[in-house]
Structures are given as C-alpha cells and as structure tokens.
C-alpha cells in the first residue's frame, strides 16, 4: 500500500452540503482521519439527490456519495448541550475542526474559534460561510449563486439581451471548498513550524471573487467596466463554443491562430483550417477588434466549414495546427471518454446501499501518496466505534443519547 500524505491528521467536520464536505473529502482522500458529524436526520445533501429512480433515500443521494468518500459518520445534534459535550470530547483529540455555519449560529452553540481557542490551543478551526465570519454581510445567507453574483463573474456571463447567467454545477461551493482545504493545509504548515492553532475563515463570495480573471482589473487599471457579451473574452473572438455538424466544440485559435505581425508572410493556422489562406488578408483575421465587433461576419466565414465537419474532425485538425480547440462533453461523454479511461480517472466504488458507482477520482495525481477514494459512510455507522471505542462512552450512554434524539 502506498503512503498516505496526511496520515495521522485528525479532522472533525460538522459542515453539510458541498463546500465544507468537499474540503474534508480532499483531506480524507489524502489519508486524514475524518469524523463526519451529521445531525440525526443526516447531512442535508442526503436529501438533495440525485437518487436512483428518483426515489429519495438518504443512503443513496448521489451528491452525498460523491462528497463524503473515506469519512466515518457519527450522528450528533450539536445544537443541544449534550451533543456539544460529545463534540468537545472529539475536538480534544482533533487537529482540525470544520464548520459550515455562520458565526451567529456557531456562537449559539459555543463553537466559534473564540469559544474554543483557550480550551484547544492547537486546534485549527476552519469555518466556511457565505460571506465570512466578519464584515457587514457576515450574517447574510448564501450559496454558489450569491457568490457568483458578488464576484462579478456572473454579471459577465450570458447574453447581452438576457439576465446574467450562473455557471452550472454549483461551482462557487467547490471553489470555496478548495480554498477552505488549502487554508487548512496552510494553517497546519504554520502549526508544524511554530505551534498553535488558528481560525481559517473562508467566505464563499471571496473564494469565487479570488477567481475573477480581469473584471475588477479592467476597472483598476483602465477605468473600463465590462458587461456580458455572450461570455466572450474582451481580448478576442471567437474563443467560444460553436455548433458543428454533430454537436459543439470550443473554437480557440490561441496565441498563434491568426496572422501575427511577428510572423509576416506565414500562413495562419486558422486560414489553413478553413482551407483558404486568402483569409489571412481579411481585417477579420488581422485585427482582433474587427473580429470582436463584426463577429457575425466572422461567423459567416467559418459556418460552412463548421456545419460540414464533425467535432472530432475539427478538434483533431485544429490541434494538429497547434490551436487549442476543445470538445464539449456531457456527463455521459465523460464517463465513456477514452482519455480519462486510459488515465484511470474515475474510481469505481462499491457502496453497501447504492451499489457500484463511478466517482470522479483524484483532482491531481501524487506519485508517492496517491489520493484514494473509499465509499461514503452510512448515516451514523461509526457511532459506536467512535463514542464507545474512542471516547470511552458506555453502550448504554448511546441508547440514552439516541432516545433523546441527540444521536
């Protein structure tokens, strides 16, 4: 068995949904021991699905099964004192505590960083919330959509005559999860070097705003304010998804696709792709501003080629001409993709209730400590193992907690 990168790191996670659980999934897949503390009804992602046959079942929610690999599940109502008492015993043995609540909620539970730091001076308290733990909007609610809105990314996505458009797949939650994960790792590095825990405070809105490519920069350096224009880049057309004979491709001529003043007299890859090198003289080829403004004319130039060629044809030819065209796969296409199959990207896991599933595998490959994907836990399946086996409770205590609805 290969080594695990985070062997020995102990995590207690009361977060639900996507952002917090994705961060702790990355820790668990890297070898950290993650106790997922769920409310007795389960993480709410157990109710979001998708479900096989559309039949809701907390043990067969696709989102939950994807985001909670390799964790152990303990049910515990941390909103009541007896639940908090159990949680604190867990925290005494933990390196990292992860919460996905706003500060006001954590305060009412006595679980903010300020509440915990004196008793657990080495604990890293990681909190992911819609707008962060401080600042004028700290008490506000939110999700991926509100974060995309605040980041200026959504304003610039979509068509000019329509409403701004959110990117699919709740990306704001995932970006925040990644930022939470790397923040936790930075705090661990710091603790390794100097001792002492810390508060890792991630705002979903800021995590997404950190990804802004140049909307704020255009104002900060140019006084220019962008607006959405078919999601197009300010520095050039097409760089866009276009329809072809059998679907869609992304047409990206790249840095060298059009004629360049640095390469006078050299046939451009776009001209070669369209089999008409005379196009290299057209202002639509030589000036990016012209293409941007007269994009319908440019579309007319490329349409005959696109509508008579398949996606594979176009992308392979363009790539041979050193232009970074790309495919536009669906979920189904990805699952049967040869490239991903050869790289063994998807991990097949056997889940006791959901059966065999292909889950997205490691987001990066490590040569010595490859990430491992173990099935997500059943709700509360480690209650006895953790409470009796590790915290020293009696089995009868479990019954009492369970009868009171705490477990």
């Amino acid at each position: 068995m290969p080594d695990r990168a985070l062997e020995g790191v102990r995590v207690v996670d009361i977060s639900q949904g996507i952002a917090g659980p994705y961060a702790t999934k990355l820790l668990a897949d890297s070898g950290a021991r993650v106790v997922k503390v769920e409310p007795p009804a389960g993480d709410y992602s157990r109710r979001l699905g998708p479900f096989p046959g559309d039949v809701p079942d907390p043990e067969r929610s696709g989102l939950f099964l994807h985001l909670n690999t390799g964790k152990r599940s303990v049910t515990l109502d941390v909103s009541v004192a007896s639940g908090q008492a159990v949680l604190k015993k867990l925290l005494a043995k933990a390196d990292i505590f992860v919460a996905g609540e706003r500060t006001s909620t954590l305060k009412s539970w006595g679980l903010t960083y300020d509440d915990l730091k004196a008793a657990y001076p080495e604990l890293v308290v990681a909190q992911v919330s819609p707008f962060g733990a401080t600042g004028p909007y700290a008490g506000y609610g939110g999700n991926s959509l509100t974060a995309l809105a605040m980041s200026s990314i959504m304003y610039n996505t979509g068509n000019p005559d329509r409403e701004p458009l959110a990117t699919g797949g709740e990306p704001g939650e995932y970006i925040a999860g990644v930022q939470l994960w790397l923040g936790i790792l930075a705090a661990l590095m710091n603790r390794d070097a100097r001792g002492g825990g810390d508060h890792v405070d991630v705002s979903i809105a800021e995590a997404v705003a950190a990804a802004d490519e140049y909307n704020a920069a255009m104002y900060a350096f140019q006084g220019a304010i962008r607006r959405r224009f078919y999601s197009r880049h300010i520095f050039g057309y097409p760089n866009d998804i276009v329809e072809c004979a059998d679907g869609y491709i992304v047409m990206i001529p790249g840095a060298t696709g059009f004629p360049s003043p640095l390469n006078p007299g050299v046939a451009s890859p776009m001209g070669l792709l369209l089999e008409d090198v005379e196009l290299d003289k057209s202002p639509l080829f030589t000036q990016m501003g012209e293409r941007m403004l007269n994009w319908q004319q440019f579309d007319e130039l490329v349409q005959p080629y696109l509508s008579t060629h398949t996606a594979v044809d176009i992308v392979m030819t363009a790539q041979a001409l050193r232009m970074p065209f790309a495919f536009v796969p669906t979920a189904s296409d990805l699952l049967s993709d040869d490239h991903l199959a050869e790289r063994r990207f998807f991990e097949t896991v056997q889940h006791p209730k959901a059966g065999e599933l292909k889950l997205p595998g490691a987001p990066f490959r490590m040569s010595e400590t490859p990430l491992q994907t173990a099935p997500a836990p059943l709700r509360g399946e480690a209650n006895e193992e953790v409470l009796v086996g590790e915290l020293g409770y009696e089995k009868s205590d479990l019954t009492v907690l369970s009868d009171r609805g705490v477990l």
Binding site: G141, P164, Y174, A209, A211, I252, A326
Partner: protein, 452 residues
C-alpha cells in the same frame, strides 16, 4: 488582523509556469510566504504580458503595463533567461538543488526536452516536490493537446450544464478552470510539503486541469449513472431551490439573485415583498407548486425587484432571512463595502503603474498571519543578478551570461514595441457602442482612492 510570520517562509519555489493556472498556483504559495522565482524567456514572453494593458495603451513597454500579468505575479521574483541554452538549464539545475518545489505548466515533453524532467531533477534534489499543471495530464491520448482555460471548462463537462433553458451550452465569462486548477495545485503542493515534513520524501504531482474540475460535475455524473439522464441547461434555476433566479432591478442592466431553499424561506420572501398572500396561493404554497409555476412566480418577484436598486433588494431580503445578492460588475466588486472591509483587495505599488488594487488569491483569513500580495509583480529580468549571486555566481560570470544573451532584461522581438502596442490597443470606443463595455471612467483612480 495580525501579520506574524508566514507558513511558507524558507520555502523556495522554482516557477516555470506560464499564463494563468500555474502562476495563480505560485501566487498563492508566494502569498503564503514562499520565495517564488519565476523564469521567462526573452524571445517568448508570457502571453499575459499582452493582456488588459493599463489605460489600454502599451506605449513603448507593453510588457510592463499588463494588468493581467500583475494580478497573478505580484510578490514573485523573476529571472529572464533563454531556456533554449545549456547555461540557462545549468542555472535552473543549480537553483533546483537549493529549492523545495518546482511548478511548471508546459505541455508534456517540453521539460523532458529541456533536460528538466522530474526524474532528472530528482537526481540533483532527491526530496524535490514537482507539480506539473497541464490541460489534460502527462499521459493518455490527449496529453499533447494544446489547452487554454476557456476550452477546459467545456472539456470538464461544466459547459454542458451551463446555459439558458433550451439554449446551447455557454462558457462562463472567464477562463474558469485556470484559477480553479491554480487553487487546486497550491493545495496539492501544500499536501506534498506536509508529507515531506513528516517523511523527508518529495514527489511528483500530475495535475490535469480537465480532471481537477470534473468533481464539479459530481451530481451530473451520478444523475447519468443512476437515471440515464443528462442534467439539462436550466438558466439560473435549481432543483434544490424554488424560487431561484436572477431578477431585473431598477437602473441600467442591474440585477439581483434570489434563492429560497424551503417553504419557510419563501414565506419570509413573500412577507418582505409585501405579498403574504403568495404563501396561500395554490401556485406558490409548496416547493413542488413553485417549481411548476416558476415563470409566474418570477414575474411576480420581478414586479417587486424592478422597482428597487439591486443592493436594496439584497439588503432588504437578507435582513428578512432570504438568500439574495446584488449582481456586481467589476467596478462594483472593487467598491463593495464588505469585500473592502475584509481586505479582499490589496493595494500594491507597481513600478510605472502606481498604486493598484489586486485581489487576494488566498481567500481564507487567519488570525496569525496574512497571506497577501507582498510586493509588486516583477519587471522583466528584475532579479537576474540578485538571484544569480545567491547561487554563488560572480559579477564576471553574470556579465558573461548577459554578453552571451543567456540572461536579459529586455525582450528579444523582431518589431519595435510601439508596433505591438498598436496591435494590442483595443477599440474601446467602438466596444462601448457595441455593448461590450458599459463605460470608461477617466477618473477611476480618484474613485478608487489610488490617485497619486
């Protein structure tokens, strides 16, 4: 906010990455305290030195006026070096021997051709951590594909579930997977550093930007496996909330998003909008009904939002306990009171460009240290001599390298820079007419409080 020592102090990073994803990764590591040394070739400048030029004017030094470059390279040092020469590679090897991490983003095989592949560098530095960021990974049939972030978002599947209902797939208004995989790459390097600290072992990280982003497709991938159904493109709506959408507000092209997860939240929305009766309306009373009559509900909500400023909509609804946010443009994001209060933008003093706000790349706030842009983004070859002296080279050796064009501090390009600046100048007046830009505000530095 305290500013104690940073977690990566003492960590040295050789940065051979280019453009967006790799530089975003190393910007994070620099902000966390690492000494990041970037390399750039005089005959092939980083293409982002062409992008979003200050005041849309490159003048006679376009490469020092690109905001896109500044954003991702603040806080790093730079050596400009011709990697096609053997002495240059020897310098890289010497630096690697004294470094902890190498980050690179060439297409696979390039590092091999340079004699700088992981296997070769590990001989010099056995506990080296090396992270390669590429579009499609280091092996597999698409390994040699050229890749840009604007295509990889689609390649990861995300574009297939992004778009208006019934319409074609749409890209996000940014090179989405670039920042995303930069963030992932930084976490991967931190993971490897923690492992090395415990075991003394380095390792190689193969990051495919396509794969890094596929987990965002998790629900869609499982939907397909469980029900043989592709998630439809559905605008801003969600199966998990109703109503959810983006609603027109008062003013020119102003919008706010609103999302209600359950009946209780919808009840608060109805009350805040002065329409308590909506909760008793058969079309809206339950989440199922709201999904079915979403268009009618959207029209009703727009009746309220369209009379109000987008920030009013956000604050009024949030204070009533409803998830809502103003849809901000780039200027509004820079001026937003909350983002400012939390120091999302650091002001750096960039040579020739003056004070400029640049966004944080580490989103987390800590109590013990502050991971911010600590310096300006380097000028071409700004740290040539400083870095070469650190690896023990004499002034005479450095002068010889300069003489031999191994190192440089001006680019080697076949045309005068003014020609490049002319080609890069975007016709912004016409962009405003066409609706690509809202406006150019000449007094923007006063508005941002960064006027000299």
């Amino acid at each position: 906010m305290t500013a104690g020592p940073l977690p990566l102090e003492g960590v040295r990073i050789v940065d051979l990455a280019q453009v967006f994803a790799g530089p975003a990764c190393t910007r994070i590591l620099a902000d966390l305290g690492a000494d990041v040394i970037r390399f750039e070739s005089p005959s092939r400048l980083d293409v982002t030195r062409n992008l979003i030029l200050t005041d849309n004017d490159g003048m006679d030094h376009p490469w020092h006026r690109a905001s896109y470059w500044v954003l991702r390279n603040a806080g790093k040092r730079e050596v400009m070096i011709n990697l096609a020469t053997e002495p240059a590679r020897e310098i890289i090897r010497k630096l690697v021997a004294n470094a902890d991490v190498v980050v690179e983003s060439f297409t696979p095989r390039v590092m091999q051709q340079f004699g700088l592949a992981y296997e070769q560098l590990r001989e010099i530095k056995p506990d080296l951590i090396m992270c390669s960021l590429s579009g499609y990974g280091q092996d597999g049939p698409m390994r040699d594909f050229g890749a840009y972030g604007m295509g990889l978002e689609a390649a990861s599947g995300i574009s297939s579930i992004t778009g208006y209902a019934g319409g074609p797939p749409i890209r996000s208004g940014l090179s989405f997977t670039d920042p995303y995989s930069g963030f992932v790459g930084a976490g991967a390097v931190l993971t490897a550093l923690l492992y090395r600290k415990r075991t003394g072992k380095g390792q190689y990280i193969d990051l495919s930007e396509q794969e890094a982003a596929i987990p965002i497709m998790g629900a869609a991938l499982l939907e397909y496996q469980m029900n043989a159904r592709l998630q439809p493109r559905n605008g801003n709506r969600s199966e998990w909330a109703a109503p959810q959408g983006c609603y027109r507000c008062a003013g020119d092209d102003r919008w706010a998003v609103i999302s209600c997860s359950d009946d209780a939240e919808f009840g608060r929305l109805a009350r805040a909008m002065g329409h308590d009766e909506w909760t008793k309306d058969d079309r809206f009373a339950t989440v199922l009904a709201r999904h079915q009559h979403h268009d009618a509900l959207d029209a009703a909500i727009t009746g309220w939002t369209s009379q109000r400023d987008h920030y009013d909509v956000m604050h009024t609804l949030q204070k009533a306990g409803v998830k809502a946010a103003a849809v901000l443009d780039g200027k509004e994001a820079l001026l937003d009171p909350h983002l400012r209060a939390r120091d999302h933008f650091d002001t750096i003093d960039q040579p020739m460009l003056g004070k400029r706000p640049v966004q944080r790349h580490v989103a987390a706030k800590f109590t013990r240290f502050e991971p911010k842009a600590r310096r300006h983004a380097p000028l071409l070859g700004e740290h040539n001599e400083e870095v070469l002296r650190e690896i023990g080279m004499s002034d005479a050796e450095i002068a010889q390298l300069k003489e031999d064009s191994v190192i440089a501090d001006t680019p080697r390009i076949p045309v005068p820079p003014q020609i490049i600046s002319m080609a890069l100048k975007l016709p912004y007046d016409r962009y405003i007419e066409a609706g690509i830009l809202q406006a150019i505000e000449p007094d923007y530095r006063e508005q941002l409080g960064i006027a000299e």
